[in-house]
Amino acid sequence: MTETQLIKRAQNGDEDAFRELVETHQSKVYHLLLGMLRSPEVAGDLTQETFIKAWKSLSRFRLDSTFWTWLYRIAYRSALDYIKLKKLDLTYLAEEELNLQAEEKAEPLAAVLAKDRTQELFSALQELSFNNRVAIVLYYFQGLSYKEIAAVTKRRLGSIRTDLHRGKTKLRQILCRRWGLPDETEGEDQIDHSEPGCL
């Protein structure tokens, strides 16, 4: 059964069709939220919220965009609302909030190294402002185009390009600093610590 058929059946109140849609897209939405907020618990809660909101307004979905783009829009707004409501300064979230450390039980070396890299990337992303981080996650790690990012975030293409450029430069600076590597761009676009986590 195609996704359009599933959506139409779900719009007519078919729960099984919606369950299939949830199972197909929940991982994408969860990873997007994890990239934006970096807390597995919050990402799980907001994934749940996203799908419930999607169910409630499914009748208003006119199939004029892909289903996942529509879900991403709801997830993005949910993340924004969460940050505003909690008044979070996400840049300096405590490291222990990142529940991505290797588990206590013994694991193969490759798995431990993969977790280390995930930890490193997520804590580097943590130092970026929310908009820079969203642009980086959506463009580079989710492979979305500028137009798709603009559709998800409802922001101008120019702002997205700027965020992406700044985010990319800052991410490199952060990784260089963390790994003790010399940074040839030092002084060009320095990380401004005076505005942590500004939206």
Partner: protein, 156 residues
């Protein structure tokens, strides 16, 4: 460890970093975890196993609540209609005892009261409809009332 060194050398060289990031953009897609993405740390994380069940449970609850709301609305509407009919019948009965001049004044007053009530209700309905249409263009999935409450909370 070799992969780590490779990543370090990419980050060290600005051009290589730019090229690698563009390559990453081409390789990645929602739900796709390329080798380069994984090397940088974008690994697939386990989705909480209870998520689907929790979502479906909430949806079932929502449906029940909507069904209950519908019943309450229907019963309430029916009760209101009965009350209104009773009031009209009683008013007609009372009107018959009045003199023709007073009766005309009462009928005119009643007419304008009903008209203003219907008019206000219509304006409210249209405003909500317009808000909902505007809301749809933003693709927000909240109920308009929930959005107003959230807006007020955020303002505070």
């Amino acid at each position: 460890m070799r992969q780590r060194e490779k990543i370090r050398s990419i980050i060290l060289n600005r051009d290589a970093y730019e090229r690698a990031m563009e390559e990453l953009h081409k390789l990645q897609a929602p739900g796709v975890y390329s080798g380069l993405g994984k090397a940088l740390g974008w690994n697939e994380q386990p989705v909480p196993p209870y998520l689907t069940e929790e979502i479906m449970k909430e949806i079932r609850q929502c449906r029940e609540e909507i069904e209950l709301d519908r019943r309450v609305m229907f019963s309430g509407g029916f009760l209101l209609l009965v009350l209104l009919t009773l009031i009209i019948l009683t008013s007609i009965d009372a009107l018959n005892t009045l003199s023709p001049v007073v009766r005309n004044q009462a009928i005119t007053g009643f007419f304008w009261m009903v008209t203003s009530l219907v008019g206000s209700g219509w304006v409210l309905f249209l405003s909500l409809l317009r808000y909902q249409q505007k809301d749809h263009s933003r693709d927000s999935a909240d109920h308009p009332l929930a959005q107003i409450i959230r807006y007020l909370r955020l303002k505070r």
